[in-house]
Symmetry: C2
Subunit: 132 residues, 2 copies
DNA sequence: TTGCACCTTGACGCCGGTGTAAAGGTCAAG
DNA sequence: CTTGACCTTTACACCGGCGTCAAGGTGCAA
């Protein structure tokens, strides 16, 4: 399977597949003419896993470290290491959610102030209208 | 007050103050030699408000639209418009929080799978150790 | 032979707030 | 006059996953 077919079967652009290879997430054999050649099964699965992991917010560096374990790599130690990466990312997500909650609260305070200002303005306008 | 002093009093770099001016968030008079001159009170407050709003995740375009109202601008209509901006941003934050929650859940599923794999590996290693 | 689909590498753009540097003007103090 | 602090504008870099274009090679079909 060449890169175009892998792109079609995964719904990912060829640009992205080459990018994943450059980042060390995906490997390919080469034909005599230099074209990339992928195995039928494994590559599709690997690309799927990469997309899933990316969608969790992990970056390509972390995914590169994670993939050998996720694919059944050299066993115990790397897997413990990978668990660390995943847990670190979960903590990161927790921190980001807390940050977003903080922003939302601050924005809510602003909205409150603005609602009050607006009510004031409307009262003022109504009074001006009556006196006119 | 010139730009250096405003920078010191607000804790914001001169680069950032010029950027805010370029984005239309902050205005300054000019001395005869071209130096920016700021009023003593208002500028410090304005910069503070800009920083607060940026910290809520609003971008400079929204803040530019928002500031006249937050400063007691031309009244009713702009303020209603500003309320819309704030509410839109709050909805945006809600969506981002939901997305982060989704990511966290997906990552949790991965962590679960990996924990199981790890336990499997450890059991395997223990058995190998016993049989050796 | 021509055309077309497919492949290759390399490189620039994006977003958006900010750092940082270059190249130069202004002004007060020594 | 020199030094040095302060000011000016212009412009490039960053991050990170990806779109998109350029310039060119390969191979099959009409």
């Amino acid at each position: 399977m060449r890169i175009g077919e892998l792109a079609r079967r995964t719904g990912v652009s060829t640009r992205v597949l080459r990018y994943y290879e450059q980042r060390g997430l995906l490997c390919a054999q080469r034909d005599a003419n230099g074209y990339r050649r992928y195995d039928d099964e494994e590559s599709v699965e690997t690309v799927g896993r990469i997309r899933e992991l990316l969608a969790t917010g992990l970056n390509t560096d972390d995914i590169r470290a994670l993939l050998p374990c996720a694919q059944g790599g050299p066993g115990l130690n790397p897997c413990a290491f990978s668990c660390g990466i995943v847990e670190r990312q979960m903590a990161q997500l927790d921190a980001e959610m807390a940050e977003l909650a903080r922003r939302r609260a601050a924005l809510g305070a602003y909205a409150q102030v603005m609602r009050e200002r607006r009510a004031q303005d409307e009262a003022l306008a109504a009074r001006a209208l009556r006196s006119a």
